[in-house]
Symmetry: C2
Subunit: 209 residues, 2 copies
């Protein structure tokens, strides 16, 4: 049996969708979680491929970068789209998500680094909220055209997992409104109520991000 | 025959590696280039999938996001890696490149938006140069272990194309030193001297980015 080990920090962040692929596929994996800024991580860092987490180890063969890991697992277990065109759209949505996160993160860092109130507020109103609005507009447009309720094709893909899990974080941070973003709230519920995911979500560690 | 149309701005940027995949594969494509901030682009924008370029049209079916387009073409024409593990590493390197660009771009925008000299200098020394150093360290590490001189496996992949083409831009902006970054300079030459690429590079429009 292949031994999968997924090493990340103790959060959902950029590893959770990969964990969810394992859960949906019913595949065992070692779920290694390191505290951020910990001596364990500092000790491990130089031996990781890119000096970053997550890293997936497949019988000792290491793969870095969250989307690369996720795509690798999703293609192996059937959650990457059913045609080359579906696969391209799954990839495109995940890249769009990452572009959004690149902007949204400016606000998160401002909070995390305890920047002055005005600076945090500026990052929120001038960067994070416009970025969210543009991203949600794209998601809404896709969901409006979707017959299945999934982002791509007629079954769950890793794009659904990435987007839905991030919505948990956005909700925790007050960036999702049940009234204004109804389609998106319904989408999140649909994905996270898939029986195998629901079971995992109820038992996984509860982390702020 | 499938009709491919690749629409982007009049630059190499996030579309050039896809153009190069077409050239390496010997596949005809329509190379549509719009001036940045042009009325043509403003008119087209609302009808693009994500309000952004590049967009690839495959017999009218549209795919957004540069890496998704590139991966789609590269897998179709055999430049995406030969095993799932090689494919994952190609993806990981391209994602690492995109992370680097997210930081490097802060400097480029500061220049482009004609920010005060001190601000440009700060973006260069505090963001762009450290980001380049971290990125080059990763590339160097990969090239040192490579037996073929390619980033992944024993033949050219889209990771090579993305990295080598961006090195052209970094050179133009003074971010590559022939002495300090010898392995990387040699790598760029190796890729861009592949006969079909060399021919394209000699005849393509010369653009600053």
């Amino acid at each position: 049996m292949v031994h999968y080990k997924l090493t990340y920090f103790d959060g959902r962040g950029f590893a959770e969708a990969s964990r969810q692929v394992f859960k949906l596929a019913g595949i065992e994996f070692e779920d290694v979680r390191l505290p951020i800024a910990s001596p364990e991580w500092e000790a491990l860092k130089p031996s990781t491929p890119f000096g970053q987490l997550p890293v997936l180890s497949v019988d000792g063969f290491e793969i870095p970068q969250s989307a690369a890991i996720l795509r690798y697992l999703a293609r192996k277990f059937g959650f990457a789209g059913k045609t080359p065109e579906e696969e391209a759209w799954v990839d495109a949505i995940v890249d769009q998500f990452k572009d959004f996160m690149g902007q949204y993160r400016q606000y998160i860092y401002a909070v995390f680094l305890k920047k002055p109130v005005e600076e945090v507020e500026k990052a929120k109103t001038e960067v994070a909220i416009p970025a969210r609005d543009a991203y949600f507009k794209i998601l809404n447009g896709i969901l409006e055209k979707s017959k299945s309720g999934f982002l791509v094709g007629d079954s769950v893909t890793f794009a659904d997992l990435v987007v839905a899990d991030n919505l948990v974080t956005l909700e925790k941070n007050g960036f999702v409104s049940n009234e204004e973003h109804l389609k998106i709230v319904e989408f999140k519920a649909k994905i996270q109520n898939l029986p195998k995911l629901k079971e995992w979500i109820e038992t996984r560690p509860d982390t702020p991000f």
